[in-house]
Point group: C2
Chain length 425, copies 2
């Protein structure tokens, strides 16, 4: 890792893969085909790309029961506890609508209505990510969404990973499909004979999934298109280098494009972390990925003082921020831009990835300047409601008509005035 | 307007203009040019397309003061009152973060932080829309956004419409630029020598503005790309045909692509509204626009009963819904999908467009299934915060490490465990 004195503005924005023309063309073709031909097209692409041929892509209750029965009981207990913690944190986000009485019997209100149906895409491949199931499903459940669907590509054995099925089962989700790729996104957006359409699609995926989500956006809602993960550690001389290094590597192991940054006021810590990262890299199972990430995007910045360091963090707007300093709580309150903040030595970032209860779906690539992690509000919508009594109308109609005419919208003015026509007004 | 018996599924989705390749190319070039050359590029395109040549595109305090001094006092008073109503409705959307204490001194919290800076685009052209200024700026102010910028193309006289300046002045906004088109969006997203960049851009615009917003999305946040306006009136035999017709026309006059639909249980009302629409169209100042809209997208549906009518409304998910029936409040509560609901004869839709206090920036083209009108939450973000004490860490580290290893992320497990290394754990 390079150690740099913090002088100029810094950034962690990376030019992310947007997909090429060829990939986009393929995705558009898959979307159209599934729209036109439903299940048949889904089946065709699953055979073509995932190499599996399924007459029925809905996961059966037997498959779920078998996965649960064969699952390590301790791990199941860990997942149950994580789910409880996540539910506890997200329950506090639930909100009611409101009603504002006006004079003369009139009122305004805002109604909060959960989405009818949402779909969660769970990527396949080597590693199963049951934590993603918890993080995406629970906020939707807390919001009150009635229909929650999971779709994920089956392995060569025609099955989904046990950990995914067990996580779904813990949450009471049983509508699960063995479909992956752009065809899964198409099925969720447009519906097929087997899969009824949803209103919102969340969850990460490969470039084809990301492109497909972008294409169906508008037809349905989507969550953010997440970029590679990032961690920024803000630390002073009170931090331990081995712990900071371990935390930096926990993000670096995600992706060669992941970004791990230390901003510190301590030259001692900077040097030691650099050495520790090198030391801990060796023998890490995902060493190759982590090493690439550290080489390309790993940075250590030395700041003159803590205020300058805080300023630098705010300019990065990192997905994850750890504050490992004296007075860490006070310092954390000066952070305006970060997806999630982990305070103090014992709040290592994986605590939040898996267990503490906060959501791990977070804004990347500096979008924490304006975006939030996944939350209950992502699964509700607000409806504005107006009730005007005759008296309130009478009192305000002339004002409304004047404002409409100022904008050149005579039809608007007449609509408001029309309530007086029958009275000869 | 065509009268149809409601039998099959209905939809108001329209294929919207997405812009052509040529337009997209132009927009991309403008964006890049402004990114590279700042003010100079902004000036060039303003001259090229708006035909105005300005050395300084910031609106001066003198220009604002003059607009205010020359403005109709009654209209100003109407705007002030509308602004108060809008502020009152949106204040109720303000929310605090929360803090959840856990055992052993640990806690989780969610912090609510307003965006630093937002930009509102106000379209130019024949009509000035001061109501847009109120509807976009007030939620941002209630959210606590410190810097709010307005940008809008100047007329041939090099000035902005008085109504826009007066609205801004009422709200205390003084950072206003005379820049329009894609170059305005570029300036807001990337910044220039004169215009500092913002974090979110809202407001409607022509196809170049819409394309530019889509292109800068990710760099900054944007609001929805709004489609043409829609109204659906749900009415029974208690409704008056002339009033319903006037309301349908108030949307139709917006745009030839606007959509006005009546769903009614009354054959009498259906016939009378059809006649009334024809009658009221004649002589409407925007008759040509309204007539095209009614011809292309105007529909009257007769439903067997009110439940079938409600179901049809929910399948449309219209931007605006009026419920003009007996027991209108009860019926409105069965509506799951609508941007805004106007209850009863006296809540004509323009009441909400201008004055009542609800926001008029609403989801169109059936996106009310999953989207909401503009609201205070659009101008804040949520930051997840985790504080784990040593004891909480000790108790949970093994669980977190197990979950990480289940996902094949050894680096995550080690990060959590590293806090015990110095103790030889």
């Amino acid at each position: 890792m390079k150690i740099t004195k913090l002088t100029d503005a810094i950034s962690l924005k990376r030019q992310l893969e947007g997909g090429n023309e060829e990939q986009l063309k393929t995705v558009r073709q898959v979307l159209q085909d599934v729209r036109d031909n439903g299940d048949e097209a889904v089946r065709k692409y699953s055979e073509m790309w995932d190499g599996i041929s399924l007459s029925d892509f809905r996961v059966s209750q037997e498959e779920i029961d078998e996965a649960v029965a064969g699952f390590d009981p301790q791990l199941k207990q860990d997942l149950v506890e994580a789910a409880e913690n996540i539910r506890y944190y997200h329950e506090a986000q639930k909100r009611d609508g409101y009603k504002l009485p006006l004079a003369d019997g009139s009122w305004l209100s805002q109604r909060i209505i959960p989405l009818d149906a949402v779909g969660l895409y769970v990527p396949g491949g080597s590693a199963a990510y049951p934590s993603s199931v918890l993080m995406n499903v629970i906020p939707a459940q807390v919001a009150g969404v009635e229909r929650i669907v999971i779709t994920s590509p089956a392995g060569r054995d025609g099955l989904l990973p046990s950990a995914v099925l067990v996580s779904a089962s813990i949450l009471g989700i049983s509508e699960i499909y063995k479909v992956g790729g752009a065809q899964a996104i198409a099925a969720l957006a447009y519906g097929t004979e087997t899969i009824a359409p949803v209103d919102k699609i969340t969850g990460p995926g490969n470039i084809f999934v990301a492109l497909a989500k972008r294409e169906v956006f508008g037809e349905v809602a989507i969550d953010m298109i997440a970029g590679p993960s990032e961690i920024c550690v803000l630390a002073d001389d009170s931090a331990f280098a081995d712990e900071v290094a371990a935390d930096l590597l926990s993000q670096a192991e995600h992706d060669p494009l992941a970004c791990a940054v230390l901003i510190t006021t301590s030259e001692r810590l900077a040097k030691e972390v650099k050495e520790e990262v090198e030391k801990q890299l060796t023998g890490l199972p995902r060493e190759e990925i982590a090493r690439k990430s550290i080489e390309n995007f790993g940075q250590i910045y030395i700041a003159e003082n803590i205020d300058r360091a805080i300023e630098a963090v705010n300019s990065l707007a990192p997905e994850h921020l750890e504050v490992i300093t004296k007075d860490a709580v006070d310092i954390s309150e000066k952070i305006r831009h970060a997806g999630a903040v982990f305070i103090g030595r014992y709040s290592s970032e994986p605590v939040g990835d898996y267990f503490a209860g906060t959501n791990h779906v977070l804004p990347t690539n500096s979008t924490a300047r304006f975006a939030s992690g996944l939350n209950v509000d992502d699964f509700i919508k607000r409806t504005n409601v107006v009730y005007y009594s005759e008296k309130t109308w009478e009192q305000n109609a002339p004002k409304i008509a004047r404002l409409a005419r100022m904008e050149g919208l005579e039809g608007h003015a007449r609509a408001v005035e029309s309530r007086g026509w029958s009275k000869g007004e």
